[in-house]
């Protein structure tokens, strides 16, 4: 047995770990594709909050100064000091810290689903991307019989983040291809287009090798989490309304905060559209 065959078998025996690790990296890259959006969003919110409080403090101090408790100059001084407390630089730094926390928070929220639970491969009859996808869709349909926002949201969230992560990685590989063409054939006019196509192909490869397994694992894990919410005694009868509502809303942050970010991450200027644009550039 050759070295590469042995190496391949070594990784093959640990392929579930390899795929989980790859999937996790894919999602981490995908979440970061929305990172600048998070940063800008957080900064905009901070801006509005800061503006609101600055105006509020000035109005309060001005009103109190009008009652004669202290001079208007003193009120202006205090309000200026308060306004100075959080300046543009401070807001920028604070915004970056919050964006970092949000980004890591999103990754941590998804970590459980991404690491997920995997079916033992020999139990699964379906093989290949189509088979795995069809099985995932079937199980998803069955899982949705009990309404739960978490399970509704997890599939598009994981799909979008993994897709944007794959495109991001594809763009990185495109840079390497592009440099290769620049070195080998600097005058070849189609080098840019071929490199971009190579990047897209690499992204598709990543989707093929990691996404079906990732989505499957996330669905199963979401199903497990739903089961963990129910007592085994309750399985035969519908739970009370309060519990049903709590279960339904359990995934609200995922559905209303993370999902929009995931969708946007696919269409960020830096990945998908640019890559597509370069494939057709100057043709």
């Amino acid at each position: 047995m050759g070295f590469f065959t042995a190496l391949s078998h070594f990784f093959g025996a640990r392929r579930r770990f390899v795929r989980r690790l790859g999937s996790l990296c894919l999602v981490v890259l995908g979440v970061h594709a929305a990172g600048d959006l998070i940063d800008n969003g957080v900064f905009a919110v901070l801006d509005k909050v800061d503006l609101f409080f600055d105006e509020l403090v000035w109005k309060v101090l001005d009103t109190v100064a009008g009652w004669g408790l202290f001079s208007v100059d003193r009120a202006a001084d205090w309000s200026t000091r308060f306004a100075d407390w959080v300046d543009v630089e401070a807001k920028q730094t604070l915004g970056l810290w919050l964006a970092l926390i949000v980004e890591i928070g999103v990754v941590l929220v998804l970590l459980d689903f991404v690491w997920g639970r995997r079916q033992a491969s020999h139990d699964v009859k379906e093989r290949g991307i189509k088979g795995e996808f069809m099985r995932s869709v079937r199980e998803l349909g069955e899982a949705f019989t009990a309404f739960d926002l978490e399970r509704v949201a997890i599939v598009p969230v994981v799909l979008c983040f993994s897709l944007s992560g794959a495109l991001w990685a594809g763009r990185g590989l495109e840079t390497i291809f592009s440099q290769l063409f620049t070195d080998v054939a600097p005058l070849w006019r189609l080098g840019v287009n071929v490199a971009a196509s190579g990047g897209l192909l690499a992204a598709l490869l990543l989707v093929w090798r990691f996404v079906p397994d990732l989505v499957d694992g996330a669905i199963l894990r979401a199903h497990d989490r739903a089961l963990e919410q129910l007592d085994t005694k309750e399985l035969d009868k519908p739970p009370p309304m309060k519990k049903r509502l709590r279960m339904a809303l359990r995934g609200a942050p995922l559905a209303f905060v993370v999902l929009p970010l995931a969708v946007v991450s696919v269409f960020t200027e830096g990945s998908f559209l640019e890559l597509i644009g370069r494939i057709g550039a100057a043709l």
Partner: protein, 398 residues
């Protein structure tokens, strides 16, 4: 919707580990492992999650060289790449009169005199009517000639830069190539270009494509020169005739009568006067603040950042590239002000510095509102003496 008979799924119990593949089945996994490696590198090198992990590991190992947690955010300013110590004491004001050997070299080669002056300031000296610098390691490559002496006249350096300018289309890139190696720079520029980055010839853009050993070593020499050159060529944002109404430093506030630190320079300009970028850069923020009014925050690279405040209108968007002296907006009286003026802040290495000490700014001739103390010496870094930037003390103009 109410069917909770979840037991119909044929699933192993929660928490149970899935069975391993049968031992006799040999599955290949090298391809997946290689793809995983690519993803692992991407997540490590280009995301905050990777930065946080690296930061944690380096902290645990007691390393002083820790990565920035925000480097992968576009909203973050350029990481400071300067070696502050080597700058201390260097003039950052554009010289009205350059030494005659530099003037001669400029006439001969048309290379910017401030660039040559920056080279001499950091790597050489002017003595007995001649200016020389320590021979840069790759000047030979640019000149295509053998250089045997340890020092080289500035005219010869200028000639090398002029020759390199034809190859790199920029005197700054040619200067960089003298220290780093032309083929390495050329390759990094092409890689930055192929990645679709704007201004690939700028060292702040293409330095990410240098090999690791270059990033740690030779790059610093080039960075120092180019950073000093950029500082010495910072333009003034308003027409030169505009009057400075309140300079940088501690002052007694004319209305509040309290001693406060003023972190920028107030320039009296009528509403609607075009305000320009001090140098080329990227718009990091463009927005409204209750104190600063409409403001524009420009990153000029090397840790040099300028902010224009109280504008009536901003004419740039976030992430936009601007050139030197490009109009970024119109002056006004927005935010907390008593009249129209520009509050102009320059930060170097995240510390507010006197804008009048840089580049082509009108020099401070009097002590003005310094409360009898000496004006701030035009040094780049005065970590011990310069008061910390503190809050954005852009108090109303008098």
């Amino acid at each position: 919707m109410t069917d909770f008979d979840l037991s119909k799924f044929d699933l192993p119990p929660a928490g149970a580990s899935a069975a391993e593949p049968k031992k006799d089945v040999k599955v290949r996994g090298l391809f997946d492992a290689l793809l995983c490696l690519v993803l692992l590198y991407g997540a490590y090198a280009h995301t905050p999650v990777g930065a946080v992990l690296e930061y944690g590991v380096r902290t645990a190992l007691g390393s002083k060289n820790k990565p920035s947690l925000f480097a992968s955010f576009r909203g973050a300013d350029t990481e400071v790449k300067l070696d502050a110590a080597s700058f201390d004491g260097q003039s950052v004001h554009a010289a009205d009169q350059l030494p005659s050997p530099i003037e001669d070299a400029v006439k001969l080669t048309k290379v910017n005199g401030e660039l040559l002056a920056s080279l001499v300031a950091l790597h050489g000296s002017c003595e007995l009517g001649g200016c020389t610098i320590k021979t840069p390691p790759f000047l030979e490559d640019l000149l295509e000639a053998d250089l045997r002496d340890d020092t080289v006249p500035i005219a010869q350096v200028a000639l090398g830069i002029a020759k390199g300018k034809r190859r790199f289309l920029s005197a700054e890139t040619a200067t960089e190539a003298m220290f780093i190696a032309p083929f390495v720079v050329e390759r990094a520029v092409r890689q930055a270009e192929a990645s679709g980055l704007d201004r690939p010839e700028d060292i702040n853009v293409h330095s990410d494509f240098f090999p690791a050993n270059i990033r740690r070593g030779a790059m610093q020499d080039a960075i120092q020169v180019l950073a000093l050159y950029r500082m010495r060529t910072l333009a003034w944002p308003t027409p030169a005739t505009a009057r400075v109404t309140s300079p940088f430093g501690y002052r007694t506030h004319p209305v509040l009568k309290t001693r406060r630190f003023h972190n920028g320079t107030d320039i009296g300009v009528r509403t609607g006067t075009p305000l320009r970028s001090a140098h080329r850069g990227i718009i990091k923020r463009s927005g409204y603040d209750s104190v600063s009014g409409n403001y524009v925050h420009i990153d000029h690279g090397f840790g040099i950042v300028s902010t224009h405040c109280h504008m009536s209108e901003t004419q740039v968007k976030q992430d936009q590239h601007v050139g030197r002296l490009d109009v970024v907006g119109l002056s006004g009286a927005t935010g907390r002000v008593t009249g129209p003026h520009l509050h102009y802040i320059v930060r170097v290495d995240k510390k507010a510095v006197d804008p009048q000490a840089y580049g082509e700014a009108p020099r401070r001739k009097t002590k003005l509102d310094m409360d009898g103390k000496e004006p701030v010496t035009p040094k780049v870094f005065q970590k011990k003496n310069t008061p910390d930037a503190g809050p954005d003390a852009n108090t109303p103009a008098p």
